[in-house]
């Protein structure tokens, strides 16, 4: 059956290629050996992909998943994909020198955005790698004396998973709960610190709900107990002012593709005074002072540097715009719909992230209905599962409301017209789904849904 399907699919694709007569880039004989991935079917009225027919490319409101590359960033990167291809670690010729110079310029651009010294920046493949180096690397290095890690329930998957890995090795982890606003309770943090606590890891801006944790206060507590403080600032970089001195962080994870830079590059800030040491994850040529061996990808690093410099220059302008767009989106939706709840603190949040729950609507149906708007129910990593987000559950959001969450991500390139269209489509879709919903009808009649005794199935 499966092979039959595959064969028919293959035949269809073949005929499509033949009829559309499109030039396939650098096609080789290997392409005939294995079936090529199904091409999105294109007709003059739109595009059909994964069984969904769309008129055009959807408007993009998923900036927390990733952001488009800024043309100014691409402009900085392109020369390093052409003639300037040297390995930055080659010390014997001009190709190496010019690449090395570009990498060092990028390093100081990243450092200057976060108020660090360039010597404290290590380039990695992304924030996930930086988080892994921080959490596992620090604990492995200090494992003789330190056996305990404090983190929160709303961290990104890669921090939680690194913690679980440490747990299997016998380390103890405290997962701090968060309030209904998504913020960590400082008193709980203070009482969770033990003499053998080796690391506190709390993210600056949450990826799903966008709340900003009280970084300076957490940093002060960590300093008081002399515990290293790690923060995942992937969603904070270039969006809120970061000062590693004020925050008192020992380690900080940064990402390139959340700030209109390229994917596949990130950075790790590692404090020099007082010095924090980690056990490297990758061993090899000793690049990046041995903390992250492997050739530094010059074009990507240059892109990240350019993105950081741009972010520094444009932060104020972007902030003003994004805040106005967020208000426009929220007011537009709230003016036409009832039962809309903002997840997470309203005051302490990054404006570019608006996580809303629509009561009496099934979230997946809403997402399917909003096919012309590229939004997500939560993080991209967990967008394949139908489970409600663990972040929303940690906030104490009811199961039914956690199921209907949608995260609108607004960025540098979002327009007013896009926001208006998103409002229009969301309102339309929610109204349509509510019209079909028996629950909504009952609520309109004054029945409290929470009181209903559902019969067992």
């Amino acid at each position: 059956m499966a092979s039959k399907l595959l064969a028919s699919n293959f035949r269809q694709t073949l005929t499509r290629i033949a009829t559309s007569c499109q030039l396939r880039p650098l096609s080789t004989a290997a392409a005939t050996a294995e079936a090529p991935p199904p091409e999105p079917y294109q007709d003059p009225n739109g595009i059909s992909m994964k069984g969904v027919k769309i008129l055009g490319r959807p408007l993009y409101l998923d900036m927390q998943a990733t952001s488009p590359v800024d043309p100014r960033v691409l402009d900085a990167m392109l020369p390093f994909y052409m003639s300037r291809y040297g390995n930055p670690h080659s010390r014997t010729h001009m190709y190496g020198w010019e690449s090395d110079q570009a990498v060092e310029t990028a390093r100081s651009q990243v450092a200057s955005l976060v108020g660090a010294s360039p010597k404290e920046i290590v380039f990695t493949s992304g924030a996930t790698e930086s988080n892994n180096i921080s959490v596992k690397g620090v604990m492995h290095f200090y494992k003789e004396k330190k056996r305990h890690v404090i983190t929160t329930q709303t961290e990104h998957k890669c921090v939680l998973d690194s913690c679980r890995h440490l747990q299997q090795e016998g380390f103890e982890i405290t997962y701090l709960p968060v309030g209904s606003d998504g913020l960590v309770d400082l008193e709980k943090l203070r009482s969770a610190i033990r003499p053998d606590t080796g690391l506190v890891s709390i993210m600056a801006v949450n990826n799903e709900i966008g709340v900003i944790q009280p970084m300076e206060e957490i940093g002060r507590i960590c300093k008081e107990f002399n515990v290293p403080f790690h923060t995942d600032a992937a969603q904070a970089l270039g969006k809120i002012p970061i000062d590693v001195g004020k925050w008192n962080v020992s380690l900080m994870s940064l990402s390139g593709h959340k700030i209109y830079g390229p994917k596949g590059v990130g950075a790790l800030y590692m404090r020099r005074r007082p010095r924090i040491r980690v056990e490297p994850q990758m061993n090899g040529g000793g690049q990046e002072r041995g903390i992250r061996s492997g050739t530094v990808p010059t074009p990507l690093v240059v892109g990240m540097g350019a993105a950081c410099e741009l972010a520094k220059r444009e932060m104020e302008y972007d902030e003003k715009r994004i805040t106005a767009l967020q208000e426009r989106l929220l007011n537009g939706i709230k003016a036409k719909l009832d039962g809309v709840v903002i997840n997470g603190s309203i005051e302490r949040r990054y404006a570019g992230n608006l996580n809303l729950s629509f009561a009496y609507v099934e979230g997946e149906s809403l997402l399917m209905g909003l096919k012309e708007v590229a939004v997500s129910s939560g993080s991209a990593c967990t967008s394949a599962s139908l489970e409600p987000s663990y972040v929303l559950r940690a906030l104490g959001v009811d199961e039914d409301m956690a199921h209907t969450s949608i995260r609108f991500g607004i960025g540098r390139f979002t327009t007013e017209a896009e926001i208006d269209r998103a409002v229009e489509l969301t309102v339309q879709q929610v109204e349509k789904l509510r019209e079909m919903s028996p629950l909504y009808e009952m609520v309109k009649e004054g029945i409290n849904i929470k009181d209903i005794q559902w019969s067992q199935h």
Binding site: Q42, N45, G46, I47, I54, L55, G56, R57, P58, L59, Y60, P68, P71, R72, L74, D75, L78, Y317, E372, R412, F413, T414, T415, A417, E418, R421, Q428, Q429, K432
Partner: protein, 104 residues
């Protein structure tokens, strides 16, 4: 490199009103050439906002710095508008499809 040096030399003396207006028009014209909806709108908006932000600059050196910066932005925009055109997707953004019927 040579072009930026030339731009710096030209900007050493403050740009004339005609030169500033010419830069403004070139930036807008280049912005319109971006095939990507979002980038095009951003380039237009950012140009207008930057010129509005700087319209009351009177200090000679800051005027020429701003002009010089604008010239380098123009160079980038011209190159990137071309790159974007080379790799433009076949399907337009939904925001550009105005007359298409929407069935819901």
């Amino acid at each position: 490199m040579a072009s930026s040096a030339a731009a710096a030399a030209a900007a050493a003396s403050a740009p004339t009103r005609t030169e500033v207006l010419a830069l403004f028009r070139s930036l807008l014209r280049t912005a319109r050439r971006f095939s990507d909806y979002n980038i095009r709108e951003y380039a237009k908006r950012r140009t207008i906002d930057a010129f509005r932000h700087n319209q009351n600059l009177s200090d000679l050196s800051s005027v020429s710095t701003a002009y010089c910066d604008g010239m380098s932005q123009l160079k980038i925009a011209q190159r990137q508008a071309l790159v974007y055109q080379l790799y433009a997707p076949n399907i337009k953004n939904v925001m550009e499809i105005k007359t298409a019927p929407r069935n819901h």
